[in-house]
């Protein structure tokens, strides 16, 4: 089980923070997500905002990769580009060999807010995707019921979203994204709006869930703990314009649970990460000072 979680193509020394192999990964043919020299620029009333600045990265099939960075650094924009919700200004985003120009059902997305359809019950929310893709009603509901059992909301199958807690709603949103059996699951600060306790439970749930589904996951967060706990790789982004500063492999063994948050090896890893972020943060701050 543990061995399966590791990507055999990317052997990494355990329990240490290391720079992942640099360029070769972005040209490796087996990457499921390839972002090359991607820039995204927004027109705003007073000119332009460069949200993503010449970013390249690659994600291997089955990998769990986190994007970490301060808010406003372009994490959501980068993720939206992988989802096909945002078109490249320059460069290219390829998922499963095809350029992303509009959303595709083999790529699932979970947003910070659950965005459940308020007029549909839990069951029908989850069945929405399969129905939209032309599955029969019976088949779609069967898929939904399986997922409802998996997220432990069997008792709430027929409840409407507004009657559920934030954590439950977000679990439904995850199940809804999984109903189309996506090859890639994109998650944009999915636990960011939850309280600390619920968040910890959700992280454990996601770790379990990950063992059962076959998706590559890209997970956006600004929480270092969350990133290290969940990921095989952590990409650290600079304060805007968004660029990737470092590509770090997390060599911690799996299966993991939030119990490792007190593990000395984990703490060492976190300290290294924080140092990096702090140095970069100071640099960015000084740059800003210099500009103004």
């Amino acid at each position: 089980m543990v061995a399966m979680m590791y990507n055999p193509l990317r052997p990494t020394p355990p329990l240490r923070l290391v720079d992942a192999a640099p360029e070769p990964s972005s040209t490796a043919p087996e990457a499921i997500i390839r972002v090359e020299d991607l820039s995204i620029v927004f027109d705003v009333p007073r000119g332009e905002v460069i949200a993503v600045d010449r970013v390249s990265l690659a994600v291997m099939p089955g990998e769990f990769v986190s994007l970490v960075g301060p808010s406003g650094c372009g994490k959501s924009t980068l993720l939206n580009a992988m989802a096909g919700l945002e078109r490249p200004f320059e460069g290219e985003v390829m998922v499963a060999g095809k350029p992303m120009l509009s959303p595709r059902p083999d790529i699932g997305m979970v947003f910070q807010q659950p965005h459940l359809f308020p007029w549909k019950s839990v069951r029908r929310n989850i069945a929405h995707g399969p129905r939209a893709l032309g599955k029969s009603k019976t088949e779609a509901l069967r898929i939904a019921d399986d997922l409802i059992d998996m997220i432990g909301l069997t008792k709430f199958a027929n409840a409407y979203p507004h009657t559920l807690s934030g954590g439950m709603q977000q679990r439904v949103a995850i199940a809804r994204a999984l109903a189309n059996q996506p090859r890639v699951l994109l998650m944009d600060e999915p636990f960011g709006a939850l309280d600390a306790q619920t968040r910890a439970v959700m992280q454990d749930n996601l770790l379990e869930l990950r063992d059962r589904i076959n998706a590559t996951i890209v997970f956006v967060t600004h929480d270092i703990d969350e990133a290290i706990l969940l990921s095989d790789r952590v990409l650290i982004m600079s304060a805007g314009p968004g660029r990737i500063l470092r590509d770090l492999s997390v060599g911690l063994p799996r299966p993991r649970s939030s119990a490792i948050l007190t593990d000395p090896a984990y703490l060492a890893l976190k300290r290294d990460c924080l140092d990096l972020i702090r140095t970069e943060g100071r640099k960015a701050f000084e740059q800003m000072e210099a500009v103004t």
Partner: protein, 259 residues
Amino acid sequence: MSTGRHNRATTAGRLSVLVGALSVPAFVGVWELIARSRIVNAVLFPPPSTVAVAVLDWIHSGQFFGDLSASLFRVTVGFLIGTAGGIMLGVLTGRFRLVSSLLSPLFHILRPIPPIAFVPIVILWFGLSEAGKLFLVVWGVFFTVWLATHIGVQKVDRGLVRAALMLGTPRRQMLSEIILLGALPYIVVGLRTAVSISFYTLVAAELAGAFAGIVYRIEIAQQNMQTGQVMGGLAALGLLSFVADRSFAAIAERAVWWR
């Protein structure tokens, strides 16, 4: 202490319910007294009893149901056509920039003109036919429903649309489910306003010349100086639009079923 306050509160509550129940009967009673006391001209201000007799005559003569069904037909059919058109175009202008650029300026110019001002031209176009009456009601209802839908569609949570996009929702279903239901709370408010507008325009339509209808009957009675009948007609119209508004409010509450 607390029970005393509680008692005083419930006493005040009961009293206000009682006063509320007596409000209309008391008004009718005072009116009856004043009209009979000859302080006022009884031809212009007939007592409620005279109004009641006029209404009963109206019903017995068999004209009442003809008038009622003529007015109901105009209001209902006009409302349905105006609503269907308003929702359809509201979804299109709310969702598609190009359609909005094409139609919204025109609609914004036409919308503020009171529908009643169209009576003369409607008579030129349609004469005294039923089509002209429906046109006026449809016209009044359409713009209200269109604007409510247009705004509602633009306020649909972008997150819902994105979530639906990510799940592979086809274009058609996006409009007919996500956008339409997302905008429904706004549309329902517009529809309720449109109910009262349909009655305003009905009045204009029937005053412009008709052969049956509640307002038409009021006008005939006025020409014959049958003030009792005029007031009876007003009461019937008031009751009708009251019932329409209340039943619509009840329907609206259930229309947004997920709240």
